[in-house]
């Protein structure tokens, strides 16, 4: 299971990810990126579009 993770330190607040997300799962108000985990299909498109690699799909361990 993967999950989209946003690195605030790296983020340039350009909101490009908002424009490429095919599912409308991303939104930016002010300088805060909001990720709608319900809508996110973990396609990884935003991770490739982000100019600085601030978005990553990370494996979420289910070894609980």
């Amino acid at each position: 299971m993967k999950r989209l993770v946003h690195d605030r330190e790296k983020c340039l607040e350009c909101a490009g990810c908002v424009g490429v997300c095919p599912f409308g799962a991303l939104d930016m108000f002010g300088l805060d990126l909001q990720i709608d985990m319900e809508k996110c299909k973990r396609c990884g498109l935003c991770t490739r579009a982000c100019p600085v690699g601030a978005l990553k799909l990370q494996e979420v361990g289910d070894a609980g």
Partner: protein
């Protein structure tokens, strides 16, 4: 609290939105301009070069503070050491968008537009009677760009214009296919470096190099601030790899070792050519949101401003004719297409042609263009191109024809 009814609501206070709003207000329409960010123009998401002065100077001279450099030519470092110099006195400007965007919005406000920041449109309704209803989230900024919602309001408008840039959210709210398509979108960064790295009144490009074949690297001097915008853009890659920031840093270090970096901005650029449709009943998109950017250069400031003007003009005609239907507003799409859409279509084809060439062909084409440039752009000299490069010329001409 804002009024509950306007003639026109424009969403997004970039160059396209501000110009559309200002022109409509000057024509007597009650106009509201919404900007979701706390500061108009911040963060900058642009290389800040513009090469179409006529569009920028629609209102007369641009405030000097906004102009960093008068551009007098282009210099292109092509593949295999083939360099092309294109002298073009007064061909464009380097802008300071941190000043230019607020200046445009200020002009709009002076002409009666109600400009509101920290205000985000969260939904746009279908047409109800003679208007659409825009739900607006109003907020408070903390001075550092962080916005907290304080209230929401529903506002009626007879016409809604979406100029919300690459995010393309407003178009989606009303059912237009505005989402950026990765293979037709450029991802880019712009690193501000201290001092002037390249010819101070030229835009300098590196194009056709292996590492960044489907885009280009730029060095744009900002004389007034004594800094250089060093940046790059390439098509969103279809598989994971180094991001454009890493690539650009590597090139900066290679070309200008030890350069002092001030700060970095980033952004995405639609390079698809115009959207097929960007008007609906009582609705239109302007600028990046309508993919009005040039698909070869990625430039979009002048295009957005021109589209803003054309849009305002058609909306005015629509109000007068009591017709703001999609059918009528299509006139705006046609106007844009005939003025610069056709050119963009050509440049899109040219980009595809350029990228499809193999390396020797690409170098050959650059040599032809170099010869043309060295000849001072005389057709006769062009005809004297050596035999070995003539096949590239032939392909190039065939492409054009």
């Amino acid at each position: 609290m804002l009024d509950n009814e306007y003639d026109v609501i424009v969403i997004g206070a970039g160059p396209g939105g501000s110009v559309a709003a200002r022109n409509l207000s000057r024509l007597g329409y009650k106009t509201l301009l919404l900007e979701k960010r706390e500061r108009i123009g911040y963060p900058v998401r642009c290389g800040e070069a513009s090469t179409n002065l006529a569009d920028l100077q629609t209102y007369g001279p641009i405030d000097e503070d906004c102009i960093e450099t008068i551009i007098n030519g282009l210099f292109i470092y092509g593949p295999d050491g083939v360099n092309i110099e294109v002298p073009k006195p007064n061909t464009g400007l380097m802008l300071n968008r941190l000043k230019f965007d607020p200046w445009l919005a200020h002009l709009a406000a002076n002409d009666g537009v109600e400009v509101v920041t920290c205000a985000r449109a969260t939904s746009v309704s279908d047409v109800l009677g003679d208007s659409r209803i825009v739900r607006v989230s109003l907020g408070q900024g903390d001075g550092n760009g962080k916005v907290t919602e304080t209230s929401t309001q529903e506002i009626r408008a007879k016409m809604v214009i979406g100029a919300d840039g690459v995010e393309s959210q407003i178009g989606r709210m009303v059912g237009l296919k505005t989402a950026q398509i990765p293979s037709l979108t450029c991802t880019g960064v712009d690193i501000e470096v201290q001092g002037l790295l390249t010819k101070p009144d030229y835009l300098t490009f590196w194009q056709g190099h292996d590492f960044i074949n489907d885009g280009y690297i730029w060095s744009f001097p900002k004389q007034r601030s004594n800094v250089t915008n060093f940046g790059a853009g390439f098509i969103v890659p279809n598989k994971p790899g180094p991001n454009i920031y890493e690539v650009t840093l590597e090139w900066l270090e290679k070309l200008f070792p030890g350069a002092k970096i001030n700060h970095t901005v980033g952004g995405l650029v639609p390079v698809s050519g115009f959207l097929k449709q960007y008007t609906l009943d009582r609705f239109a998109l302007v600028g990046d949101a309508a993919h009005h950017t040039n698909p070869l250069t990625g430039g979009g400031i002048a295009a957005a401003m021109r589209a803003g003007r054309f849009c305002a003009q058609r909306v005015d005609e629509g109000f007068k004719a009591h017709d703001l239907s999609q059918k009528f507003l299509q006139g705006y799409e046609k106007h844009c297409y005939s003025y610069f859409g056709r050119v963009h279509d050509f440049e899109l084809k040219f980009r595809k042609f350029l990228l499809a060439l193999n390396k020797p062909d690409q170098i050959g084409l650059y040599k032809v263009l170099q010869g043309f440039a060295l000849s001072g752009y005389k057709k006769r000299a062009f005809l004297k191109t050596p035999i070995q490069t003539s096949k590239y010329l032939y392909r190039f001409l065939k492409f054009k024809g």
